[in-house]
């Protein structure tokens, strides 16, 4: 479960969707209603957030410094200051929707069949984002250029508009629905906002860190409830951190020239196969 969560949290394939689907398909005995499930998920999230903090440790130092300088000055002068404010603008919609609607959304949508259906929708959204992106690439660079040249026509995370950052942040809230991938939808949003693939992935991971970290920290007191096997859960968190670290490294390399298409196709196929299996079993 730790490996699964750490890998699927960053791959654009919906960790929540897989967390709902896989235990059900493989008859694992995880029950989301179990009181110890939330502390377990909390530790897995902290492991993933820890991996992202390690990868982006230098970025976060300048972003935090930039945030305080710009906030006290009331003016943005440098790119890290702009990125810090973009991340703030992008994080607020998710934080608000998450605090108010996470429980209601989980109650409504956390069933295997609905998760599988939204996995198909997630795949469609990513393929749609890539379709629109290809059109922009043809307009920007014309035909006959290499992938690297096409990518160079697009911008870095620091150059996204504040409106686009808010929209990408709002899109991130959709990831509360099992089956919709946080990274998939924010990378897709970043592409539509004119970012290079690798920069869209970087913006997505930076945007995810405070949300994942906050969601984990808020639930920390539950870890010390009686009957929580902290040692086993810690092992899960370490595995989640390792999987998240390797996934992020792989994805950042992949998105130098790769696209969301394979993940979109995977989500559509996985969603349809899961739906078929769940229907046949019923």
């Amino acid at each position: 479960m730790g490996l699964l969560q750490g890998a699927t949290e960053l791959f654009p394939v919906s960790s929540l969707g897989h967390a709902v689907l896989i235990p059900s398909l493989l008859h694992w005995s995880f029950k989301q209603s179990d009181p110890s499930f939330v502390p377990f998920l909390t530790l897995l999230h902290l492991g993933t957030a820890g991996a992202l903090l390690v990868i982006y440790r230098e970025d976060w130092i300048v972003i935090i410094r930039g945030f305080f300088s710009a906030a006290f000055r009331g003016q943005i002068r440098t790119e890290p200051e702009r990125l810090a404010m973009l991340l703030l603008v992008g994080t607020l919609p998710t934080a608000t929707v998450g605090v108010y609607l996470e429980h209601q959304i989980k109650v409504l949508f956390a069933t295997p069949k609905i998760a599988a259906s939204f996995l198909v929708v997630n795949g469609g959204l990513m393929l749609g984002a890539e379709f629109l992106r290809r059109r922009s690439e043809r307009r920007a660079a014309g035909s006959g250029t290499t992938r690297r040249e096409q990518e160079e026509k697009f911008g870095a995370a620091e150059h996204i508009s504040f409106r686009a950052a808010a929209l990408v942040g709002a899109c991130q809230s959709l990831a509360l629905i099992p089956g919709i991938s946080r990274s998939g939808i924010t990378i897709g949003g970043g592409l539509l906002a004119g970012l290079r693939h690798v920069e869209a992935a970087r913006f997505s991971f930076l945007l995810a860190t405070p949300v994942i970290l906050a969601a984990g920290i808020v639930e920390v007191p539950q870890l010390f409830s009686p009957g929580v096997p902290l040692g086993e859960y810690m092992a899960g968190a370490v595995l989640a951190a390792i999987a998240a670290y390797l996934s992020a490294r792989f994805l950042l390399r992949y998105f130098r020239s790769g696209r969301l298409d394979p993940y979109g196709l995977y989500c559509i196929v996985a969603g349809i196969v899961s739906l078929a299996l769940l229907t046949l079993r019923a």
């Binding site: 006290f72 009331g74 003016q75 404010m85 607020l92 934080a95 609607l101 429980h103 906050a214 808020v218």
Partner: protein, 68 residues
């Protein structure tokens, strides 16, 4: 002047957010909470403190800057 009016409005909004945060923490406000019987709604309170801080930052950006 327009910038200063916006800045004042944002400061007022920040104060409102702080009050809402306090009400959630004290358990007085029960709007869209997971457990209505909980004594404190810490998560909601933290959210409103963050929104208050963001409003103050926005107010500082909106205010008219005086040149030295």
């Amino acid at each position: 002047m327009k910038g200063n009016s916006l800045a004042i409005a944002l400061v007022v909004l920040a104060v409102v957010f702080v009050i809402i945060a306090g009400l959630y923490y004290e358990g007085v406000l029960q709007i869209l909470v997971t457990d209505p019987h909980a004594a404190h709604h810490t998560t909601h309170a933290i959210l409103f403190i963050v929104l208050a801080a963001a409003s103050l930052v926005a107010a500082n950006f909106a205010r008219t800057k005086t040149t030295a």
